[in-house]
């Protein structure tokens, strides 16, 4: 929408299209507020966004080229729009929420076709592998660089006989050759001769960097990696507000954990416990008994009251659970730390269990096409109810009334003055001058594209959630989500892996050790290559990106010196779910509109009465409808809780019926539970 056409007055102006801001926008618009929703970027969802591979590459470019724009003549423009008795509060033009961004590419940069032609031509250059890896070592610290090299020919030379027997080029073999430059010739040969026994390695086709770029549109790479608890605040809100109709979801198929150097499946549902091969029958009984207790632990205070002041870990020990079970419960089910207190641990376990079975065998859902869909769904809802959207459009400064110390208006980047009664803004737009506290934390993130799953199973189309307990006592626990191509986030034949932890340093420092444990990374400077066979059983990393994201979730309104009708939305937190952001949106909404319901169910399109709908609008039905609205707000004034208002009760049947399962369902959807 052209900026010149913007109306000059809105009830609420919202800057930033992250999840919290988008939910607020939808909620305000839904109850009849006029909403202007802006974002300085050219994409929706801010730090919640999902990018295609190529989109991500340009995002990386943008990040690298970003610099503080000097105060230009634009300031002259907006200074002139400030009247007497008004103050101007400028906003930041620079987004500093992302830092330490680093990219490494391990996929071959060759053209695919070329490669296929070369394979049968065996040349004799046995030293090639070494040269290549040296090059790679030198270059790989540079962002965006690729391990290149004539690796095909290098290994061809060593296995001329086998080439004739095997029609597919042994591409994985080549990759590992590069990573092991110091390996002796003998070792290499034994490795090669053993390779025909492993058919999965051979059948797989190597994915080149070219291929990633070519198929880049199939990727939807999230900046923030989160899952949705099937009974969490986000799912509840999606159902309640009918926003769920704009998105599709897939179950997380399994929960894995990394333990004793191995990736194992965590038995969490009844079916998992039954099928688990790593638990003894007695352990199965103990686990089920404990989980059953957790489901309604409040009913049995005698079981845990001696431990309320002690860590959950000690409680588990006291329950005489085996070490296996303690690990599963602490790290993968409750997902708490060593120090979490018993009651909190029990609550976390209970929440996990209550979410089981609603949509599948794990408690989690993931939106198809990536998490970035979710803020956009709320934006769409906002737009349906009249919200106005402008991307690449920001606010230069706020116009504050000196007397009331309230924002009267904003001046946008095109120099237009737009008055508003409330201003909602994402934290990254706030200048340091407006901050009382800059004590925010950081999230460490890594995004990997790999060639196979960390735990191959019958179905290669499963989303896996992997909990990785701290490798050392000082290291943070890492959460990993492995997305398959049917989640519409990566191209077939690859997996998109997200790692997240709260930072103790740079993302790469935090996460690279974990990655090298779980994955085969062709070349890491200074690292000695490990045993070939073991290394090859791990998925190979084709591409990896590290970055830190600012976690401002600990900040509240006291952390900013801003007028009272400016509401700051902190960015994504480091937790697995989005509950924090949803709760924040709800509280901001109630600040703005204390008497309104938060995201009541959107009506079906056929039930909406449009102006000029003639007889209907003026008929008795119209009166009735206004009456019910009045009744509703009356009920709210009397303190009726939102959950109990009549309109939300109807929302249960309108479940999220678009959860896609492994097999497409032609039949009627299964009723819940």
């Amino acid at each position: 929408m052209a900026a010149e056409d913007l109306p000059s007055q809105f009830d609420v102006v919202i800057l930033g299209t992250g999840l919290t801001e988008s939910v607020i926008a939808a909620a305000c618009s839904r109850v009849g507020q006029s909403v202007l929703h802006l974002d300085r970027r050219n994409y929706y969802a801010g730090n919640w966004a999902s990018f295609t591979f190529n989109g991500l590459l340009s995002w990386i470019e943008q990040y690298k080229n970003q610099q503080e724009v000097p105060i230009t003549e634009l300031e002259q423009v907006w200074r002139s729009l400030i009247d007497e008795g008004e103050d101007a509060v400028p906003l930041s033009a620079l987004d500093s929420s992302i830092s330490n961004l680093e990219v490494f590419c391990y996929a071959s940069e060759e053209e695919e076709k070329e490669e296929e032609m070369k394979t049968p031509l065996s040349s004799f250059q046995p030293v090639n592998a070494e040269t290549v890896s040296e090059e790679a070592n030198g270059d790989s610290t540079e962002a965006h660089d690729t391990v290149t090299g004539d690796d095909t020919t290098a290994s061809d030379a060593k296995t001329p006989n086998e080439e004739h027997e095997v029609s597919e080029p042994k591409e994985d073999q080549h990759t590992s050759d590069i990573s092991e430059p110091s390996q002796s010739q003998e070792e290499k040969e034994s490795q090669l001769s053993s390779s025909p026994a492993d058919p999965t390695v051979e059948v797989q086709k190597k994915i080149t960097y070219q291929k990633l770029v070519k198929e880049g549109r199939r990727f939807n790479i999230d900046l923030v990696s989160k899952l949705m608890y099937s009974r969490g605040a986000l799912v509840d809100l999606l159902i309640k507000s009918n926003v769920s109709r704009y998105a599709e979801f897939k179950n997380i198929g399994r929960i894995l954990t990394y333990r004793n150097g191995k990736v194992e499946q965590v038995p969490c549902s009844r079916a998992d416990v039954f099928a688990s091969k790593q638990l003894t029958v007695v352990e199965k009984r103990m686990l089920m008994k404990f989980l059953t207790f957790c489901l309604d632990f409040e009913q049995h205070p005698e079981e845990y009251q001696d431990y309320t002041e002690k860590p959950f870990r000690e409680f588990l020990k006291n329950k005489k659970l085996t070490e296996n079970l303690q690990h599963f419960i602490l790290h993968s089910i409750a997902m708490v730390t060593q120090h979490t207190l018993t009651e909190e641990g029990l609550k976390a376990t209970q929440h996990f269990l209550r979410c089981l079975g609603r949509y599948g065998n794990t408690p989690f859902l993931f939106p198809l096409y990536g998490l970035g869909e979710i803020p956009q769904c709320f934006c769409r809802m906002c737009a349906v109810f009249g919200g106005i959207y402008c991307l690449r459009h920001s606010v230069e400064c706020l116009v504050v009334d000196k007397v009331s110390n309230k924002v009267k208006a904003v001046i946008d980047t095109r120099g237009q003055r737009i008055s508003c009664s409330h201003f909602v803004v994402e934290d990254s737009y706030i200048r340091d001058e407006q901050r009382q506290s800059t004590a925010y934390r950081q999230i460490s993130r890594a995004v990997l594209i790999t060639d196979r799953s960390v735990l191959p199973s019958e179905s290669d189309q499963q989303i896996s959630m992997v909990t990785i307990p701290p490798l050392e006592s000082s290291a943070p626990a890492v959460r990993m989500v492995e997305l398959c191509s049917s989640s519409m986030t990566c191209m077939p034949g690859t997996y998109l892996v997200h790692l997240t932890c709260s930072s103790s340093g740079k993302a790469q420092e935090d996460l690279a050790p974990v990655i090298s444990q779980l994955f085969h990374v062709s070349t890491i400077p200074g690292e000695e290559p490990s045993e070939g066979a073991e290394e090859r059983s791990k998925p190979a990393v084709l591409w990896v990106m590290y970055f830190n994201m600012r976690d401002t979730s600990a900040l509240d309104s006291s952390s900013y010196s801003l007028p009272s009708n400016v509401h700051v939305c902190t960015g994504p937190d480091d937790s697995l779910c989005s509950d924090y952001s949803i709760k924040l949106a709800e509280s901001v909404f109630h600040h703005i509109l204390p008497d309104e319901e938060f995201c009541p169910p959107a009506p079906n399109p056929e039930d909406i009465i449009y102006d000029g709908d003639g007889p209907q609008a003026k008929g008795p039905g119209f009166d009735e409808s206004t009456n019910t609205e009045a009744d509703k707000s009356l009920a709210e004034e009397e303190g009726a809780t939102h959950e109990k208002s009549p309109s939300t009760e109807n929302s249960e049947p309108a479940e999220m019926d678009s959860v896609t399962q492994q097999a497409p369902l032609d039949m009627t959807p299964a009723s819940e539970e």
């Binding site: 039954f274 009506p603 009465i609 369902l665 039949m667």
Partner: protein, 580 residues
Amino acid sequence: MHGRVKIKSTAQQEEEKRKEKEKKLKAFVSARDAVLKKRSAGEHDEEALQLTRQLLSSNPDFATLWNYRREVLLHLETLREKDEVQKLYESELHFIEACLKVNPKSYGCWHHRTWVNTRLPQPDWTRELGLCDRCLSLDERNFHCWDYRRVVVKASGVSVEQELQFTDRLIGSNFSNYSSWHYRSTLLPQLHPQPAPDSAPNTSPSPTTSPQFHSHRVCEEQLLKEYELSHNAFFTDPNDQSAWFYYRWLLGRAEREEMISCVYVSREGERVSVAFSKPVHAQSEGLMLVLDGQPQQVEWRSTHPRLRHSPVWLCDLPPGSISDMSNEHNLTIHWTEKHTHRDCALYTGCAESWCRDSATNLELFRSELSVEKSSVLQAELQSCNQLLELEPQNKWCLLTIILLMRALDPLGHEKETLAHFQTLKEVDPMRSTYYSDLCSKFLIENTILKMEYAEVRVFSLSNKNLTTLCHLDQLLFVTHINLSSNQLLRLPPHFAMLQCLEVLEADDNAIENLEGLYHLPKLEEVSLRNNQICKLSDLESLASCTKLTRLDLRGNPVHRTAHIESELSQLLPRVTALSL
């Protein structure tokens, strides 16, 4: 408030819905009438298909319409080429699929689908299996689909292995689905049958071979895997009955082989009693009696007119044929139907004679679980005891332990068994009567075993909380019975099998029915103090016991009946010692 989206009110919506419904109903009724009219006019055309299609897609349970549709299709089939017939029926399958979405449990749909597949020139069974899988993934208890699947599997010749994998998958996703466990139990014996025993099955079994007939058994290697599978299920959820039932099946529910277990001859009564291992209907079984080489024309009768199938049958020999004590006689009972026979010799000077296997050899009462080797059973008992330690209140576990103990050593485990029964009655009061009856059964079995070891003809089981009587066919030779101080309510018709009974003590029970005291030729003395006999008519059956002379009825409500003494002396004139 301005700016709000205006939404139609509920009253408005309801009115619209009502109108819509009315409209739909009207359309449905008129279409239905049109179809029925066409059918009675014998019109079998495309239009008929179209009309029934409309109706059935909104209500797939209208059986008449499916019938009409079949008539039309059969007619159209005659008019078309083979290719077109294939297409016609394929589109029919698509249509049924749409109807199944409306009601996945529609009898009409599934039946029609089966029919269509029989008409289809080239049925696509893979697609049908896929459909079944989808339906079962939505509702694994849809028995219509299970039935249809059986048809598909049979027609398409899916291998047993594949089907077993199918049950693996279903059990893996929900082990509470008994349909899958049951299906598994039908597949395993086909896939992993127990190796055939050494002796050919057709030879007539000698009395020393095991009386257990092992049908539908599974080889041991596979059984061990299945035990593990069920352990996984019941350790995960010990309250789920599916796995327990399957487990009980695994442990072996052998049927006893049909055979003549005993022949008894009484010189005085000139009567032969034959006991079988299972209740039979002797008149239709081709039973033949040969006395000293001469086939005899005898009439077989069961011990009580109410028992048409009975484990004990009687016949009277021609008068005088064996009454002379100085003669020796040889009897043979031929069971022609089962190609088996049994001999019995009545020696000089003996008043009676019998021929039977000792109960200890027969393992009479352990048929429930005893097919399995005792080492395996012992291991299973350990597993269950391990679970019981974790779940001391679990009824399935307790019951299984009881059964295992009985299979292993019924006498050695008697005390523990009784304790477990006590717990069972406490944790599952709804079924306490069932447990009492089962406990009674086991106690009677144990007593019979003990009696066999002691080689006596006295059966005494007083003060044991018996609630029911069973295995009375095993008490054919017993002369004295003591059942005092139990909780018996009746002496059932089976009681009439106690052909040698002379003295019955059943004081302090709650007996109100004496049906079973019927034609007991040797019964002399009956003591029924403190029971619930109320009416004179309850005592009528005693009149058939011709040797009864002593009867004790003290403490029964019947004594309040007017003129009871005179009535009784009229009913039972031979009773000389009557206590009221």
